[in-house]
């Protein structure tokens, strides 16, 4: 174990390097840029095999599709408008069942232009057939890189690792970046059977008539649901090697909790602090952190919230004109429970608006009255 005091972006780039990708293809956009620059320096120093300095994010994701189809391990990073520009190709990558990893440094989307953190960019890709993991800390993000490659390659589903822009990408802290030897033990070489190979010709990306199309979509959906098993197993393998354990969800002070804060990403750090403070005052507060948003862990969420009194779902994204995305999933998860908690929606932290420990504590105290709320914080 080598703990280094480094920037989150740099640690993520190092983790990517240790996974020995065949092809990196990136286009700069704040706050993901440092990762791309670090990877490019590693390429310049001969530590990364290929770095394609593409002319747009659309070409970055397209190059990943080509590289993966040719049997290469492929990775990119982007944020905000870059991810929105990739949108069309994201569906092609998952539909073609091509493994790859995309690190999303989460950022608000235009307009108005804003470079700071929220999760609207990746949440808006939730129907694209990608695995999505939302990380609370830089350590978790770094660990999620080899995990994402392994899960992606065994399920043949592309995976996004989402880290909050600036809060994580630009913060310098102590991080244990897994060494190459450890990653080698954990992550098998990528050698897919189905690939573009002139000695074994096949056609990829063909079109399907109405008689066939839907069954492709159904298979994709079933396999994405099943990816939960792969994520769980792969994460426990990682735990065996590193002692760092990640689930589909994380529960903090949940055993006897009555009032629960549900959220994703780095805001959960502040939430834990708020819960510690409330607990010190005798409040029965708890945190349910959703790490895997796709596939959504309905069973785990229902299990964690069963019997709780009040739930505040907090999120840094909106589905304009519809149910807030995380809130909607949580409600769906609770559908079959006989003792349903009251569930409120809180939207906040958009475009880098501060979400303080105090904000979280206030929300948890507020929901104690059992009223249903839809609020912007």
């Amino acid at each position: 174990m080598v703990v280094k005091t480094v920037e989150g972006s740099f640690a993520v780039a190092e983790a990517i390097r240790e996974c020995e990708p065949d092809v990196v293809a990136c286009y700069p956009i704040t706050p993901s840029t440092h990762i791309a620059e670090d990877l490019n320096r590693m390429y310049a120093d001969g530590e990364v095999k290929k770095y394609i300095a593409v002319e747009a994010e659309f070409s970055a994701i397209s190059a990943l599709i080509g590289a993966s189809a040719a049997g290469g391990r492929a990775v990119s990073t982007t944020s905000s408008q870059g991810l929105l520009l990739m949108h069309e190709a994201l569906f092609a990558a998952s539909g073609m069942r091509l493994p790859m990893v995309l690190v999303v440094a989460n950022r608000a989307v235009s307009a108005p232009l804003n470079i700071w953190g929220d999760q609207q960019d990746s949440i808006s890709q939730r129907d694209s057939g990608w695995i999505q993991l939302y990380c609370e800390t830089n350590q978790e993000t770094v660990d999620s890189i080899p995990i994402a490659f392994k899960v992606s390659e065994e399920t043949r589903l592309p995976a996004m690792v989402c880290m909050d822009g600036f809060y994580l990408t630009h913060s310098v802290e102590q991080i244990d970046v897994p060494e190459k030897k450890l990653v080698e033990k954990f992550l098998p070489k990528f050698n897919p059977e189905i690939k573009l190979d002139s000695e074994n010709p096949l056609s990829l990306g063909v079109y399907a008539m109405p008689s066939d199309y839907q069954s492709f979509r159904e298979d994709l959906e079933l396999d994405l649901q099943k990816a939960k098993q792969s994520i769980t197993r792969v994460q426990s393998e990682w735990n065996n090697l590193t002692g760092r354990n990640y689930g589909m969800i994380e529960q903090y002070m949940m055993k006897d909790a009555e009032n629960v804060f549900v959220a994703m990403g780095s805001v959960c750090g502040n939430a834990k602090e708020a819960i510690d403070q409330l607990r010190a005052n005798g409040e029965k507060a708890g945190l349910l952190r959703v790490r895997a948003f796709r596939p959504f862990p309905f069973g785990e969420v229902a299990g964690a919230l069963n019997g709780k009194k009040n739930v505040a779902v907090f999120e840094k994204a909106v589905s304009l004109g519809g149910a807030p995305p995380l809130f909607g999933e949580v409600l769906c998860a609770l559908n079959d429970l006989s003792r349903k908690p009251t569930v409120s929606s809180f939207i906040g932290g958009l475009g880098g608006k501060d979400v303080t420990v105090n904000n979280v504590a206030k929300i948890i105290v507020k929901i104690k009255d059992g009223e249903k709320r839809f609020e912007w914080v």
Binding site: V23, S59, G66, A69, G72, A74, A89, S198, L202, V206
Partner: protein, 285 residues
Amino acid sequence: MVKNPDNFTPGHTACAGCGCAIAMRQIVNALGKDIIIANATGCMEIVSSCYPRSAWSVPYIHVLFENVPAVASGIVNALRAKGNDHTTVVCIGGDGSTYDIGFGSLSGMLERNEDVLYVCYDNEAYMNTGIQRSSSTPLHASTTTSQAGSVVHGKTQWKKPIVEIVAAHRIPYAASTSISFFADVEKKLKKAQAIRGSRFIAIHASCDTGWRHETDLAYDVCKLAVETGMWKLCEYENGEFKMNYKPAKLKPVEEYLKLQGRFKHLTKEEIEEIQKHVEEEWKKL
């Protein structure tokens, strides 16, 4: 006619007399088995790859309409990273994909000088979606989005000079050829295949449905395009420009135009305008 017809098999669903399907066979048969084809959305993709069938007996991938050069960049980098130094990665895109929506992706690939051979089959419109104009559609041609009405008389812009634009990227090889010049197509494909870095070949290929000519005229129409100077056979090799077909005297453009319904509405003046333009271009060469 074609030596080794099994790389692009019969059984595809192209229209009778499709000039572009001829181009596909010329491409795969000239380049052999050690290739990977990345194809843009368009007629050639649709006619060749309906699940669960495929007309391709070489490795083939289709992803989207506007990103083939980037997909190919990914393929070639992955191949080379994994130690494959021999397979030729070939893009096949229509004029819509190449001149218009995928142009940024193409320019990026050329600027990076990726080791990819890009072949554009140029049928001068978006045929797959029902004959809409592209920036390759010639002046005055009527399409469903450059219609010949009483006020506007077909396309009002000249055809974009794609080979010159591509050559301006200073790639090692750019050329244009035509399905009707079999030896020229084959020679250029093979020559390009032997070069490393980005290579580009535009193949003029007829579409009888979109150009509105008889189904047995693919060969004659494309040949006339060259003989009238409406399309040229040329090469840029390391910056040096070369014409590969220089007749003593060009045939009048009218011979080419009159075979096709897309030019049927042209006035005498419009035909003269095209004739004059061709002659001026020709003088420059």
